[in-house]
Symmetry: D2
Subunit: 346 residues, 4 copies
């Protein structure tokens, strides 16, 4: 059994990691850590865990946890663990980090978009960006995994094949993304109260959202050149789900089948990426509670644009289940172990 710890187990993503690991046949959840809820029964904080795991939320240092764990999942705010996460810890224990701290290789870009000084720059180089389907080989051997963000996973996977094959003009990409509210976390803020969010839709962080450089960096690797894009996130009244609508100029005259072939080239054998049939648009409900990403597209000959669409569950493939997928790759388990749920409808 792999001994696991979770830091930030009081948040939605941390709790989702906990839920998945509690159901993983090769994992023992040894620590559920939360500074703010330390001392409380985990099942008191998340009633779904009643009678399932008798753990208490504890406040323990990362270095101490690392003595007694094979892997630690960190679901904490940006910058929160940089002071504690020193290279020597990685000699003892592998880290799967769900924060943004090690996702962006260019530390200046990180510091500019996050308005934070980075305190463990020396680990950025070593960290592997955990988009499983794209970086599977590097993930296998890594000690520090930077688990991608929810908007990011959906945005990149939806555009990746066409960007890689230069089928779209690289700087024409306009991403409009919709997110369920769990993406905003479990902090007690007026703006996330039920009555502020329900029966409402809005864009936010326009031109400034921090997932922008992460998407650009990864798509630049795919394209082989710098990519600049517009990313506009929106909040819509549902618990879970990311839906991205990506509009781009086609770089040449292509047929439906041409595009389909490109998607199939990269995703045909991927269990967790489903390219939908012609004229079928992805819907977040059809991936809810699962590790799937659903992708569809439409060519508009009138405008010369292609509209690519992707959907995933922000707490699953957009956070926790992708973290477990990466964990499985890192520790040599079957990739689908513990995350092979069929989406639940309604």
């Amino acid at each position: 059994m792999v001994r696991a710890g979770i830091i930030g187990a009081n948040g939605y993503a941390g709790a989702e990691v906990a839920r998945l690991l509690m159901g993983h046949k090769d994992v023992e959840v040894r620590y559920v850590m939360s500074r703010s809820f330390a001392g409380q029964q985990y099942e008191g904080v998340f009633g779904n865990f009643k009678d399932i795991n008798g753990k208490e939320l504890c406040d323990i240092k990362l270095s101490d946890m690392a003595e007694d764990a094979d892997v630690i999942f960190t679901a904490t705010p940006q910058g929160y663990l940089q002071g504690e996460l020193v290279p020597s810890i990685l000699d003892k224990c592998r880290i799967i980090d769900l924060s943004a701290d090690y996702r962006i290789k260019d530390v200046c870009v990180y510091e500019e978009w996050y308005k934070l000084e980075h305190h463990s720059k020396e680990l950025i180089e070593e960290a592997v960006y955990g988009l499983t389907e794209i970086n599977r080989d590097k993930i296998a051997g890594c000690r520090l995994l930077a688990n991608p963000g929810c908007y990011t996973t959906c945005s990149i996977l939806t555009a990746y094949p066409l960007m890689k094959e230069h089928m779209i003009e690289k700087d024409s990409l306009i991403i409009n993304a919709l997110s369920g509210v769990s993406g905003a976390g479990r902090g007690a803020k007026i703006q996330n109260l039920f009555c502020e969010v329900n029966e409402n839709a809005k864009a936010y962080s326009v031109a400034l959202h921090r997932h922008t450089p992460e998407i650009e960096e990864q798509l630049a690797y795919a394209y082989g050149d710098k990519v600049t894009l517009q990313f506009t996130p929106h909040l819509v009244p549902m618990n879970r789900g990311i839906l991205v609508t990506e509009t781009a100029k086609l770089s040449k005259d292509v047929s439906y089948q041409d595009v389909r072939d490109v998607y199939d080239k990269y995703y045909k054998d991927e269990r967790f990426i489903r390219v939908l049939d012609e004229n079928v648009c992805p819907e977040t409900r059809f991936v809810e509670g699962s590790n799937y990403v659903d992708i569809g597209f439409k060519i508009d000959r009138r405008t010369g644009n292609i509209i690519m669409m992707g959907a995933l569950d922000n707490l699953m493939k957009g956070a926790a289940s992708q973290a477990v997928q990466n964990f499985n790759v890192m520790f040599g388990f079957e990739e689908k172990e513990g995350i092979d749920m069929i989406p639940m409808v309604p």
Copy 2:
């Protein structure tokens, strides 16, 4: 592998049975039947099944399906299958019926509340009422299982121990129940459109709801005498969930621990019934996507009443996962096989 068929696979409960059986290690889903959607790909009707099960919805007679299946789950409207379900079919294949047709032993009561003539009365006697925790022994050997309704399962399990132990006055029980909208089915009706249900709460079928006699009959078995109760269902704007609030006169002066002991006597060893800690009220979100029933209670010394509360997922313990739980008992599998999910929050 047990060969299974599902009749009414186009409804929410039928699709949930399908989802669970597709993930059950000892079952092969051989038929997904729907008259109205026959000929369509199942994954076209329920996009969550994309790439998971290549089946097409078919229109096949029950008797023909029975030749090639070990068990058939029927998720159809009341009366729909009575003409087709003849005793000889049970010689070939076991039936787990999610409709109300074989739940009520007194056929006059059935015909009065359902305003239907019963066309296969001869099978009512044989049918076993599938409240697993209460009728486990009879379920094991049965050929025709009457799977309880969603309101019913929740209402009965919440009051059962106190009724059984005569701790409450038998005719004082007032049940107010809230249901998510999936309980109303997938039929195209104006009253279930999003804009009719969202931002709305209402009672319906007041004094007339058909689950009333089912609850009364089962609680009468528990009490050992006829029980008359008030059952008032309500529709609230959420996809899933049943919450019952049951108010009854205590028949004697009891302490919290007295009541707790009674609940523990019946449920302590039940994996899927969780009696909550003192002063904790059940919430539907904490059982969503699972086979659990959560139960809490509060004694009000001022009024002499006890308020018992229960929560379950109407499509799971209230329909599909209880059906699979019963299936496991009937076929000798571990009771939790394929239905052991931790509830998903949020």
Copy 3:
């Protein structure tokens, strides 16, 4: 023009009072007060007020505001204003208090249920309980109006005629109430976050809710004797609305028309109380955004119970529009002035 001030204008009820007063042809909104948001533009806190009212939220003492206002609406937490509200203020300015501080005549009952010491007991006697339809005469001349709670208004008006006419057994009343989330206020609490409330239903404050003694006291006045009842509130995922389902033993054998006549006796000429046709159940959506209360009932001969149901908008008739209705009565305007909206569907 009547000069008005609003204390607690940053809450949902306070903002609703502001919205109604801004549209009232005989009122000038002179002060919108909020300690926590003082200095901010009101339209920055509530974007709906953009370009409608240029006011800034201010922090001003009640006594200072009273110098320059004819009426002050206080929408503040229990006990918040007791220190400031001294009798001399009422010589200058009339107060419409939306808190619970002056609703309960028996101060011991108040202090027991609210766990607070009352610091302005001397004003309780003078305060008039503002259930407009019942206390209209007393309201006209009053200086301190205690505006009823949302659960309370709905619970009392639904049962009042039958209690008054002794048509139900006085201690048999069991009230189950459902509330939209705005009733919980605009405080930043985890329990009211979208993802905690959405797709969830729960009972809370079982046997302990503070509106219980308020309902009992008013129904006791109606009945002419002490009334003890069970009140169980629930939270359901919608912004607005209260739905009460009240079950009581009928004290005699009555027909539909007998009960209907009793309701008509008290409510036939009431513009804002609508007694629905036979077999029609009230729905919160049909009163949303209005000052209406909808009432329906069903006699169950099987059980000897009557089920009475009432619906209102908790922020309107349950708070702000009833406050304005009372204001109209107090200041001699037409009772419907500024609150005569047709409910908005959907």
Copy 4:
């Protein structure tokens, strides 16, 4: 009093027209027509009208209604009334048509996008496109008003000033729009059931939505040249609201103030268009229940794009209240008469 009739009063838009006209001081609602609900009490179909208007839904021919009405609002599907609406009717009665039949001047474009033959082409020329703020002068004298669609009103007004002033590249406009579910109408369709829409987001009619040519035509008038744009609508789980996010290439280097000045040039004196402060994004909740359009924008120097955002209530400014606004202009009433509600939050 102006005598008014409503055709299609059983739909959401028709009922909203009825609600507004019932509250309009200069209007008598003489007919509420619905073929499918003829003979039913209007308050039985929409419970909010209880005790407000005693009308019965009737099935009456347009020509007969025109004999006895000064204005008829038609809220019917495309093509539905073309056979009945003959020029001679306009001699007797003015028509405000909420369908798309007379919005597009180029009948070939209409027939191509709507896949319908147009049966009253002779009236298209006369019809005035009812975007009040832009065509006010023409509206005043018109007999046949083509009331704009919900997506259209929001999309056009958001981009109009910049398009008019050539501040954006005319063919670079990419509109992503979110709609509440009431925009899909009140027809009994599985796809609009609560459980299909709730907790879900999806794009639909990608590259094919019929509001596309209507937006293009109107923006072409503004620009003075043909405009081609990408319009992608999405369905999100809320009752009301349209939010558009429009991304376009700026045609020159401009400051925030430059853009602001252009918006102010056209909208400063418009009561129902609110241009928000810098860095404030429109939210649908802040216009709900009102005739307002809220507009915000953000310049992204990194990409050279401007992101313009607009929000309105699809049943109000997107349908019924704009129809009444046009009615007021046509009949010489104050433009805000009967539609001057402050948005309701939450």
